[in-house]
Amino acid sequence: MPMDAGDALLLARAQFGLNIAFHILFPTLSIALAWFLLFFRVRYAQTGDPGWLATYRLWVKIFALTFAMGVVSGITMSFQFGTNWPGYMERVGNIAGPLLGYEVLTAFFLEATFLGVMLFGMDRVSTRVHILSAAMVAIGTTLSAFWILALNSWMQTPAGHVMDGNVLIAGDWVKVIFNPSFPYRLAHMLLASGLTASFFLAGLSAWRLLQAPQDAGALRTLRTGALVAAVLAPLQVLVGDLHGLNTLEHQPVKIAAMEAIWKTQKGAPLVLFAIPNELAGRNDYAIEIPKMASFILKHDLDAEIQGLDAFAPDVPPVAPVFFAFRAMVGVGMLMLAFAWVGSWILRRRAPRWLLWGFAAMTFSGWVATLAGWLVTEIGRQPWLVTGILRTAEAAGRVPEAALGASLAGYAFVYSVMLVAYVVVITHLAGEGEQK
């Protein structure tokens, strides 16, 4: 590959990666936040307790901002599919296109339209219609996750397609949508969303309590968030494990990169920490538990695990996958511990150290989600669609200068937006419910 083509590919990937990484933050929050809002709204209707209404009113403001951030950054994606990856649409557009189309048709309009009623229509429609609107927003956000994960999973573990000349077409849409990794990935992502939103609610409520210890509404929200997290976190461990086993079956090279197993071996050790050395094809400074990887992955101490050497040269870069995986698991375990210990203590009291802890964990879900996303997307390289289309083949012909200039522009705008977002929600939450 000539040098300049490589640079253009890198720029195209950097730009698309930046956009997706920025975008994914907001749907991850808003999918589950929409269900929390529905819960607050229904509780208010059931009890007539104005406290629930105040809680709803505060979080619907934060939701509106989060949703808007997701919408505006999502529009960028619909343009960049074609501009940054024309080869992708040429080869697999007949499958990717309809899945994206169903997302727009069934999800985007539903959530965006009912969001208007949900935000501004409380005094104009009946309680029942207002609750219905909140439910439609929640269903819409979840449906969009369904379609986008169907597409993402299909790219990871393609199924149900047939060749038509040089391009792919769908042979069986049910197999395309319900491809082998889809159920695991969807469950993993929805739980990730639930955990992200739970810690977000709990963290911002803890932040409020640090300033106003008597705020009963904030304490109730903190308890709700911590409790939901305590339920979802162990489920996520279970689903994550199943997802890993599914990956071992369908994308074993990704597992080899996650665990930094360079050579195929029986009784492979679990690498707790190491510096993967790509050039030498080995781990430096490794701390390992003998035979543990074989046991975790195959439930047999002496089972053979395929190493990266079995798949060369089509292997992903090891270090980012290895470290991102450890970051995801590490943060996830911290969330599990926090949710359990936190909700146990919160039954009776809310000590300040715990409030500080929850406040510090406000965005822990974002960190874990981004790390997990890096694992699965970098772990798929050099493929864009596993075994079918290479990332390099899909890249476009946009001049480097245009890519570079727009990348800088997006990076600037996103930084401003992210800072403004965090400042504003922290401020809103800090002010609390009373108004």
């Binding site: 901002l65 343009f79 309809p98 985007f108 208007g116 200039a405």
Partner: protein, 317 residues
């Protein structure tokens, strides 16, 4: 059943883009009019578009989505050639959308900053869209003439959106603000008249394909219906100002629909002017069929709840 799927999708895409231009057009127009209003009026103006802007912007995703799904080759070519103006438009839309939320939550000079960014984002997105249309009509040719023409289209579309925004405010507001909106509408009308005239003279000069389509007697005589109807709609808006709340908006929408019909006639059956036509650019029939199935299934609901949302928020702000 033998359907001409590419033709159906070209029509659907046209409908989605027209819906976007009209719906987000009034949002963006209201945004561009912000500096001309007082602080209190600005809050009313923003409230008039509050429940709708998210959904309005979704029509853009649908329009571009259909381009991507049904005509992927054209999606890459067109948007690749328009890369920087697209980036500018997206930046504008992002600034507009985020400022919309943040201006309500900020205080002091922060609020002023977000107000300014709301205006700037609306303007940048509108201008970039017009500029893109100009580049599209000149088949992305380099050169100073094509560039100038595109700048004129950019400025004209801003005028069109101001007209839509001002007539929307006549429909949705009352009192002093409505009186101001009537004055803005007059400016918008003059701006649009100039813009439409310039673009109508410029387009056949800039594009041979369009020229041949326009001056193809005796069809040209039939085609004269479009400018005449546009003139009638223009006069109707002007004469109904101050007499009806909703006629000016309806007239502005009619002007847009007529201009859009003219564009569609000029370009069809090309999707990249002088390059590929809609049948060459189309996806595989299997992809089009499954998508059409979804459209037919979902569209009635989509229209239904959109009408419902507009009914919920009918009347004055």
């Amino acid at each position: 059943m033998n359907l001409d799927l590419p033709l159906i999708f070209a029509a659907l895409m046209g409908a989605a883009i027209l819906a976007y231009v009209v719906l987000d057009g009034y949002d963006l127009g209201v945004g561009m009019l912000m500096p001309a209003a007082t602080d209190a009026e600005q809050d009313v103006m923003v409230a008039s578009i509050g429940p709708f802007w998210d959904a309005n912007e979704t029509w853009l995703v649908l329009g571009v989505g259909i381009l991507l799904i049904a005509f992927p080759m054209a999606h890459g070519q067109i948007l690749g050639a328009l890369y920087l103006p697209v980036a500018a438009m997206l930046t504008g839309l992002m600034l507009r959308g985020v400022s919309f939320e943040l201006r309500m939550k900020a205080k002091g000079w922060h609020a002023e900053l977000w107000n300014w960014l709301f205006w700037f984002g609306s303007f940048l997105a509108s201008f970039a869209q017009g500029y893109m249309l100009g580049r599209y009509l000149t088949a992305f040719e380099p050169g100073i003439g094509a560039m100038l023409f595109s700048l004129v289209v950019g400025a004209s579309l801003c005028g069109g959106y101001v007209l839509l925004g001002a007539t929307w405010l006549i429909l949705r507001t009352g009192g002093e603000l409505q009186k101001k909106a009537v004055a803005w509408t007059k400016w918008g009308l003059l701006w649009v008249a100039l813009g439409v005239a310039l673009v109508s003279i410029g387009t056949p000069l800039a594009s041979e394909i369009v020229r041949d389509k326009w001056f193809d007697f005796p069809r040209t005589l039939g085609l004269m219906v479009l400018p005449l109807a546009t003139l009638a709609a223009w006069l109707w808006v002007w004469t109904r100002l101050g007499k009806s709340d909703w006629h000016p908006f309806a007239g502005a929408v009619a002007i847009f629909a007529l201009a859009f019909a003219g564009l569609a006639y000029s370009v069809f059956p090309y999707i990249v002017l002088g390059g590929i036509d809609i049948w060459q650019a189309a996806s595989h029939p299997s992809a089009l069929k499954i998508t059409l199935f979804g459209v037919v299934l979902v569209l009635p609901f989509l229209v239904g709840y959109t009408v419902f949302a507009y009914r919920v928020f009918r009347g004055k702000v």
